[in-house]
Symmetry: D2
Subunit: 403 residues, 4 copies
């Protein structure tokens, strides 16, 4: 047992920290001003392209991809502390490094399950950061934590498939640069429960695809994830070779995609919580109320101590989970992935809430990143399966140990 | 001791409930659509004018004003359950009844402290719902929970006063219909701590008044409160008769305004929590997950029961506080006003959070009122003095009982 | 709506407070010393008899009994604030006033359902405080929150009934003065679910009754409730006229007994929490740590403020529940009785925990009443139905409102 | 970074688990019966001696001592998972392995700071498990979390020291086998703040030593720690060579003793929480309420999942702290020691509380180990410095990072 990061991780942490301090944090107000000026809440501010260029120049690019043919070849355990650092500026840093959801999951999916042709057509420009992508699974009328509920149909018609259905919370699809949608639907409703679904690639400009609106998250557009679209698919026709893998493998592919996606979210939330704690401490040191700095007031100190204690615990569990994924595989780490999915958003929500409180009205406004960080943490208590689903499943496994 | 509402309250509750069901709830999606179509997040949707006309026609108008010359002449205890009902649709109902903050506090202030000329010029159109108003107290650079920190200057210059300073979180000032600003500043920085401040009326179109931007609240514009503006006052010159009351009375007037304002917020939060609980129950009854309706799942039932228990307790404390304000005055009810200011937002936040969780992604989006209700509850944990300030003060009084 | 106590209640509160201050609080260390000296944790210390004589002399006797033929003839609303006061010294005051569980519930039961002969034989000495009694319902092997699970049999045999079974948590039965057991069992296992049970009176010295041991509560004997016994009933034969009411009425009688019992517990817990808050404040004023009194430390102030806010809310809900029981009956107040059963123990537990923390090691020891108060509050989260059962039931009713 | 235990640890875990299953768990009811039969709550039941003999025979002895001359020579990281296992049966296993507080800390102290003569006279029989020892630091009248408050005097008088003062919570001193007291007092009240104190060895049978009473912990005697005594020292005279180290080193020695003591407590609490979770799961599987096993009820599953998630996080932080103590020393691990002291008792308290609730009345009684486990966890929120002191100190260090 050893709690030290390895040398490569330490080196990359230094490099990434330098990039954040030199480029990302200074770009935050620039980004906010460009978004405000654009009018369109899903516009792509110019500063983002500059950050991407600089990150790529520094070799801080595609760190998330374990496959060394496509990415940095890091293990989950090596990537975790880096993803954490990007979570300190979650609306800029992940995309600057080409490590933003949902593209990360989509790239992994294409790298693992895509045909060579699919990889050349879509994975290559995604790896280059030239386009963005969307993942279309959730549907408005069913409980999406149970993937077997999906109603969208993917019907074979000669050399083509025809897609009909409605999706929402299709992350990525509001981004003007989004070129490709990965759509999950049913190719065979009569098959076994987990063999009915398939994944298919649909270029966003295919006729029959209508992006109806962007879903808001506590008033935010969530543009850094490419927003979350409601999309109609009406008689959408794509070539048969757009299917990812074989018919009936959609559920398995979705499962494979979710594990890493969940841990990435958790890693970034650790960073968000660290950023909030730093902001809380800075505020406490500067702000005077009733004659004394907040930093000398017992209640604020309790928040700070408690925040530190909670962050440390959650980080260790995330790191152990990453280690398990590396050593026994995503399936072997299933319980721990659920555990961090339960623990981390709640922790981050708590820490950020305290920082908000210390900033008063500024904390809920656009003048700090806190309110938006909070909205993200809160949303992750229900995205990718609400806490209750994960708790129920984790408890069942625990109960089996003693039955 | 008697826990029944009196006859007039019961009658008004019936009438108000009917108005909500017949007009307000159906107007909610209309309002959302009109806001979305307007582009400007602080625009005044047409449906609001229709609701106001209908409410006035029904005699549901200015219920908040205890002075029978101007308003309904209800006691706080009678008004409380009605304000609660308006809190069920807090972005429409309060303004529809001409009972929305910050106008309510401003009207009370003018009714109590305004000169006859000030009343005729500003109170009359406010009572008629023809204009809106803003309250400009908070400043960006100081801890506003301590009103003595205020830096804006109000300098006498012959027959005029000249105002210089910067305000933010000036609620109401983003509303296109906002015509008048009530500004707090210092007329005599050398006077006693609580005698330095004065209140003065500044028409919004006075030269030197610059509305710089609207503050966001978790991504929302909070247009139903007329937004929250950052405003520069540069050499703003108004006639001397615009001063409210005598020089040096600003602090006392602000204190008089805050007590009722705080209880109104708490009353409406009770209604917001009730609305959230109703939505939670409806969702639980309809939504099926893993083969069973949410309503049959133990965790959801715990939320519902706990929500009911918390709401009942908070409501009783709010009602008792209203009763104390009626029987021993705002000052005598000081402890209880602080108590409800601590208890109610936290309660509402908790209840609404659970409803959000039951709705999943829809809960954080624009498709339910929940996320915005939550943002309001959260903000009230820090607006008008953060919880920590109230707790500290309440504890000091408790400690004095035993010293 | 009116939040003031009536004149009789106020008068009795003054008298009871005087009794507590003059006699009960001073008797607490005496009581502790007598218990320690006795060796037997269920012994009856002599000081108790003195307190009972004094209380009776002052007319502070049997206040709990609404029936004026037997008791003080107070409404629930009048009794509530008095029971609260006794909860400040729960190991002495309730019994001193002949208002201690389980005797209160047993006296109510005999007053309402007992035959004249049963009343003369057992109610009269109980009202006089000459004997104590036990209530034997719970059984070791079944979930007692569901009364239909009861397995003890009550079999008719000529002019007698014969009782066989095992009970535990038979409150009262460890008291040396306990003379009579009220036993619930099944007279007809083939009847309707709620008509199988009957109640029967069993003198404790009846052959076949074996008190096996006293159950401990966090190490305490809970002697003030007469302890909690495990009892074997083996061929216990009593005359047929010992049956309370008719055969098959046991479940209904138990239900009738539980409502008032639950509210009495909650009333006393409010008083326990008030006592803990007073002790917390006194400690905070006296104790210096790291150069400052606890009273000046923000965290301790938060506890105090939060405690005050929680107590006020719970008390109002208890009082409203008492008012409902008086105005619409125990059945009409069912939801509220469940609500206070959920809310009050958790509140008291929280408040007492903070007082313990302020006292440090003394708080968990025999040198303050806090640890034992806490154990009682904790136990009431599961006695008379665990929180979860009440929440589940309350939620079902709430859900029906919207279905 | 590596999250696997090393081979020696794994081997010892297997051996220790076998010992627990074969000997310790079966001894629990025997132990309870022997204690009940003894009458004296601080008696030493015979079964303990048998367990000690068996543990020693198996080589599971003095595992806590890192010094290979005296103990097993394990690192903190190796010992942590073993201490955790002993915490599953904290009233038997630690002492069975000669690894129980306060003897562990006292043995460490003697091993590190004792003279050869002191070691031979006291350390040898302690290592052999022949005697027990007490640590006398806390005093009744001062805030002991600040060790400089200590009032007991140790006055040089020729070849002797004379000790006067009162101690309480002197853990270990109620045990009939306790032979030696390590007493902290002031040798020079005029010295620097942290140089006034010294430690001295006082045989318990020295004239002038009066054990006045055993402090109770929530009604328990805490006999497994040798109880907690209040002790008077009146003119207690011991040879000068009984001083541990030099005059003025008492504070430093106490600090050195506390770090390992705190982590040992936390390790055992992890085990206590694991035991409670196992009991909760077993109960959930067996107990039927309202027609379904608890294991199928959502609320119980939430408890189980949440318990698992909390335990995992706390364990990792404890292990990392052990690793830090091994790699950078106790001082370098100061923040983390405080963090686990804050996090672990609260976690254990939460988990055990849920298990108690699942067991109902049995949970608070002597029929499960839960209530006593809980009392221990609760006490550790204030023993060795209350949470608030540690949080305050930890926050100050965190604030310095950003100042």
């Amino acid at each position: 047992m050893d709690f030290a990061y390895d040398a490569r991780t330490e080196q990359l942490r230094v490099e990434l920290t330098d990039f954040l301090e030199q480029h990302v944090y200074p770009a935050e107000p620039v980004h906010a001003a460009q978004v405000a000026a654009a009018g369109d809440p899903w516009a792509r501010p110019a500063v983002l392209a500059e950050l991407k260029a600089e990150a790529r120049r520094r070799g801080l690019w595609n760190l998330f991809l374990p496959d060394p043919r496509h990415g940095a070849g890091l293990t989950n355990l090596q990537y975790a502390p880096l993803a954490e650092l990007t979570g300190r500026s979650p609306h800029l840093a992940p995309e600057a490094l080409n490590c933003a959801a949902p593209d990360t999951g989509n790239m992994e999916l294409l790298a693992e399950f895509g045909s060579p042709a699919q990889q050349e057509r879509w994975l290559t420009p995604l790896l280059a950061g030239e386009i963005r992508s969307a993942f279309c699974m959730t549907e408005p009328d069913v409980a999406s934590s149970d993937a077997t509920n999906i109603a969208t149909s993917i019907r074979r018609d000669g050399d083509h498939y025809v897609i009909d259905g409605r999706k929402w919370w299709s992350s990525g699809a509001m981004d003007p640069a989004c070129a490709i949608l990965i759509v999950m639907g049913k190719t065979d409703p009569s098959a076994d429960r987990h063999r009915q679904q398939s994944m298919i690639l649909v270029p966003r400009d295919t006729p029959g695809v209508t992006v109806r609106r962007g879903m808001r998250v506590f008033g935010y557009s969530d543009a850094s994830h490419g927003g979350h679209a409601e999309i109609d698919f009406e008689g959408v026709r794509v070539p048969a070779e757009n299917l990812v893998g074989a018919e009936g493998t959609g559920f398995a592919i979705a499962q494979a995609r979710l594990g890493p996606g969940r841990i990435h979210h958790c890693m970034r939330l650790i960073g968000a919580a660290e950023r909030a704690l730093e902001l809380l401490c800075r505020r406490a040191a500067e702000r005077v109320a009733f004659g004394r700095p907040l930093a000398e007031q017992g209640v604020v100190r309790e928040w700070i101590a408690e925040a530190r204690v909670r962050i440390e615990q959650a980080r260790l569990l995330v790191l152990k989970t990453a280690w398990l994924m590396d050593t026994v595989g995503n399936k072997g780490a299933h319980t721990e992935i659920q555990a961090i999915k339960i623990a981390t958003p709640a922790m981050a929500e708590w820490v950020i809430d305290k920082a908000i409180q210390a900033y008063g009205a500024a904390g809920v406004s656009q003048d700090t990143p806190l309110a938006q960080l909070w909205a993200q943490a809160r949303t992750l208590r229900l995205a990718d399966g609400p806490d209750e689903v994960h708790r129920n499943s984790l408890a069942k496994r625990e109960l089996r140990r003693w039955a």
